[in-house]
C-alpha cells in the first residue's frame, strides 16, 4: 500500500525536538520566576540587605526582619505570582474559546460582578468584617458568570461563543452602571476605598488568602492545561475541531467555567488588576506561537512573574507610598507589547 511506503522526510522538525523546545522554554520561564521572586524578597521599604533576608529563612534574624520577610513580603510575592499567573492563563483560555485575540479575563463580565459585590460591601459599611469584601466579590463574580452563561445558553442549545461574548460585554456594562450608582450613594471614605479596591492590589496578602487561592487555583490550572490540545483544535474552528474528534461543547463549557472561576478567585483576592490577562498571553503568542500546550503553562509562569515584578515596582518606586499595581502593569506592559507587535510579522 503506497500510503505506508513513503519514508518520512527530513524537512519537518522531529516531534522530539518540539517537545524539548517546549520544555526548555518553560524551564527558562521557571528560572526567571524564581530569580524574580528572590529579587523581590530583597526589595522593600525596610531596606534589608540580602544577607539579612537570607538569615530570616535560616532563623538567625531578629523578629522584625522575620516578620517583614516571612509574613509580609513572601505571602505578597506568592499571591502576586498566583493571581498574575491565573489571570494570564484565563486570558489565554478565553482567547482560544472565543476565538478572539482581543479577549481578556474581564471581557465576560466576571470582573464587573466581582466589583459590584465588593463595592456594595464597602458602601454598605460591611468592609470592617474580615474577609467579607472578598466573599462579596467572589459571590458577585460567580453570579455574573452564571448570568452570562444562562443568557448565552438560552439563545441556542449549544454554547454560541459569539453570543457568550456579547452577553459578557452587556452584562459588564450593566454592572458598571450599578457600580456608579453604588458609588453615588457612598460617603467620601467608602468611595475612596471602593475605588482603591477596583484598582487592584496585592498589598492585603496574607498566608491565609494565599493558601485559599492556591487550593482553588491548582486544580483549575490542571484542568485547563489538560484542555490545551482541544483548544488548539478550537483555534481552527469549532466544526473542524469536531471533525478532528474534540468534544467541542464540553471543551467550551469546561474551559469557560474553570477560567471564569479562576478569574473570580483572583479578583476576589486582589481586585481588578488590568492588562496582564490580555498582554501576557498575547506577547507569548507573538514570541513563541499559538500552541496551547506551550502557551498555557507559559502564560501561567509569565503572568505570575510579570505581576510579581510589577508589584515589587509598585511598592518600591515611591516607597513608603504604594502605586496602584494596575498602573504599573499597563505602563510597563503596553510599551513591551507594542515593541513585540512591531517586531513580529502581522498575526
Amino acid at each position: 500500500m503506497s500510503t505506508r511506503a513513503a519514508a518520512p522526510r527530513a524537512t519537518a522538525p522531529a516531534p522530539a525536538h518540539a517537545t524539548h523546545r517546549t520544555a526548555g522554554r518553560l524551564l527558562l520561564l521557571l528560572l526567571v520566576a524564581v530569580a524574580a521572586a528572590l529579587f523581590a524578597l530583597t526589595i522593600g521599604a525596610a531596606g534589608l540587605p540580602p544577607a539579612e533576608v537570607l538569615r530570616a529563612f535560616t532563623g538567625n534574624a531578629d523578629a522584625t526582619t522575620r516578620t517583614i520577610v516571612l509574613e509580609l513580603r513572601l505571602p505578597r510575592i506568592a499571591l502576586a505570582f498566583i493571581a498574575g499567573g491565573g489571570l494570564a492563563l484565563a486570558g489565554a483560555v478565553f482567547q482560544a474559546v472565543l476565538r478572539n485575540p482581543l479577549a481578556e479575563p474581564y471581557v465576560l463580565g466576571v470582573a464587573g460582578g466581582a466589583a459590584v459585590g465588593a463595592v456594595a460591601a464597602v458602601v454598605f459599611g460591611l468592609a470592617a468584617v474580615p474577609g467579607l469584601v472578598q466573599i462579596a466579590a467572589l459571590a458577585g463574580a460567580v453570579g455574573a458568570m452564571l448570568l452570562v452563561l444562562r443568557i448565552a445558553l438560552r439563545v441556542g442549545r449549544a454554547l454560541d461563543t459569539r453570543v457568550l461574548l456579547l452577553a459578557g460585554v452587556v452584562v459588564g456594562a450593566f454592572f458598571n452602571a450599578v457600580i456608579l450608582l453604588l458609588l453615588m450613594m457612598a460617603d467620601v471614605e467608602s468611595f475612596r476605598s471602593a475605588v482603591f479596591w477596583m484598582m487592584g492590589s496585592v498589598a492585603g496578602a496574607s498566608w491565609r488568602t494565599t493558601a485559599l487561592l492556591t487550593v482553588y487555583v491548582v486544580p483549575s490550572v490542571l484542568v485547563l492545561l489538560a484542555l490545551a490540545r482541544p483548544l488548539n483544535l478550537l483555534a481552527i474552528g469549532e466544526e473542524t475541531a469536531l471533525f478532528l474528534g474534540a468534544r467541542v461543547e464540553r471543551v467550551k463549557l469546561l474551559a469557560y467555567l474553570i477560567a471564569s472561576l479562576l478569574v473570580a478567585a483572583a479578583v476576589a483576592a486582589c481586585g481588578v488588576i488590568g492588562f496582564i490577562g490580555l498582554i501576557v498571553p498575547h506577547a507569548l503568542r507573538l514570541a513563541w506561537g499559538s500552541d496551547h500546550r506551550l502557551l498555557l503553562p507559559a502564560s501561567l509562569l509569565g503572568g505570575g512573574t510579570f505581576l510579581l515584578l510589577a508589584d515589587t515596582a509598585a511598592r518600591s518606586i515611591a516607597a513608603p507610598a504604594e502605586l496602584p499595581v494596575g498602573v504599573i502593569t499597563a505602563l510597563v506592559g503596553v510599551p513591551i507589547f507594542v515593541l513585540l507587535l512591531r517586531r513580529s510579522p502581522a498575526p
Partner: protein, 275 residues
C-alpha cells in the same frame, strides 16, 4: 467484487433535516449507502442539500428524522474520537483564529489518535510527513498557513485529513479554489486512496471531473435524490437539464459522460460553431 459484498461504510436511511429558519427541508428523506473503497460524488445545484447531507453523515448535524449509521453502527453510539479515527473531513469553510505553521496544522490530524496527553510519537510523525508528501506540501512545513495561497491552504487541509489515517474521507468542494492541475492531482490522489481501500464521498460542482473519477453519482435536487447510479446512468441530458434548469449537451470522453452547458440562446451559438 460486487458492491453488496463489501462492507457498508455510510448508511443514511430517510434522513431529513431543516435548518432553524429554513422554509423547506434542506435534506428531505434521502437514502444513501456508501460501500468500502467506493468513490461517491454528491452533485446538485446550489442549495440542493449536498453539504448538509455530508454534515449529517458525520454527525455534525443530527437528522430531524431518519437514521445514519457508520460501519453499520448507529452514529449516536460513536464517540467523536472514534469517528475521527476512521473518518476524515475536509469542510468548506475554515477561519484560523491564530497563526499556525503548515506542519502544526497537519499534525492536528493526529488528535483522535493521541487525545489530551499522549505525546506525538514516531508513528504520528511518520503519518504527518506522509500526508504532507502525498499532498505535495512538504516544502511548506515551516511556513505560516496564513501566508499560503488558497490552493496551498486547501492541500494543507486535505493533508490534515490524511494524517488522521482515515478509512473514509468526506470532502466538501475540495477543489473549489484549485487550478486544473491541482484539481486533477487531488482527484488522482482520491483514486489512489480508493485503491488503498479508503472510501470517499466528495461534494463537488465539477460534474465532469466527478464523472471521470466517481464510481457512483448522487444527484440532489431541493433536498431529494433526483438520480443515483453510475455516471452514465445519472448524467443523461433530460435529468441534468431538469435538475439544473439549463440546456446542456452530453459528450463521452475517456468513457465518461461530459457535460457541456449551452449558451442561453442555443441558435446563436450553433451559428458561431458552424463558421
Amino acid at each position: 467484487m460486487s458492491r453488496s459484498a463489501r462492507e457498508l461504510v455510510f448508511a443514511a436511511e430517510g434522513v431529513t433535516f431543516r435548518y432553524a429558519h429554513g422554509d423547506r427541508n434542506a435534506v428531505d428523506g434521502v437514502d444513501l449507502h456508501v460501500h468500502e473503497s467506493e468513490i461517491v460524488a454528491l452533485l446538485g445545484p446550489n442549495g440542493s442539500g449536498k453539504s448538509t447531507l455530508l454534515r449529517l453523515l458525520v454527525g455534525a448535524l443530527r437528522p430531524d428524522s431518519g437514521a445514519v449509521a457508520l460501519w453499520s453502527r448507529p452514529l449516536r453510539e460513536w464517540k467523536r474520537e472514534a469517528v475521527a479515527r476512521r473518518v476524515g473531513v475536509v469542510a468548506q469553510l475554515e477561519e484560523l483564529a491564530f497563526p499556525l505553521t503548515t506542519r502544526e496544522m497537519v499534525a492536528m490530524g493526529r488528535y483522535p489518535h493521541l487525545g489530551a496527553w499522549r505525546r506525538e510519537g514516531a508513528a504520528d510523525a511518520a503519518a504527518i510527513d506522509r500526508a504532507m508528501q502525498r499532498c505535495g506540501i512538504s516544502e511548506l512545513a515551516r511556513r505560516s498557513v496564513l501566508e499560503l495561497s488558497g490552493g496551498e491552504r486547501q492541500r494543507v487541509r486535505v493533508a490534515r485529513a490524511l494524517a488522521q489515517e482515515p478509512r473514509a474521507l468526506l470532502l466538501d468542494e475540495p477543489t473549489a479554489s484549485l487550478d486544473i492541475a491541482h484539481e486533477m492531482s487531488l482527484f488522482e490522489l482520491l483514486a489512489e486512496l480508493r485503491a488503498d481501500g479508503v472510501t470517499v464521498v466528495v461534494v463537488t460542482h465539477n460534474i465532469n471531473v466527478a464523472a471521470r473519477y466517481a464510481d457512483r453519482l448522487v444527484l440532489l435536487h431541493r433536498g431529494r435524490t433526483a438520480a443515483t447510479g453510475t455516471p452514465a446512468d445519472v448524467l443523461t441530458r433530460a435529468t441534468v437539464e431538469e435538475v439544473y434548469d439549463w440546456p446542456v449537451m452530453i459528450r463521452t470522453e475517456d468513457g465518461a459522460p461530459q457535460i457541456i452547458p449551452r449558451r442561453a440562446s442555443g441558435a446563436h451559438q450553433g451559428e458561431r460553431r458552424r463558421t
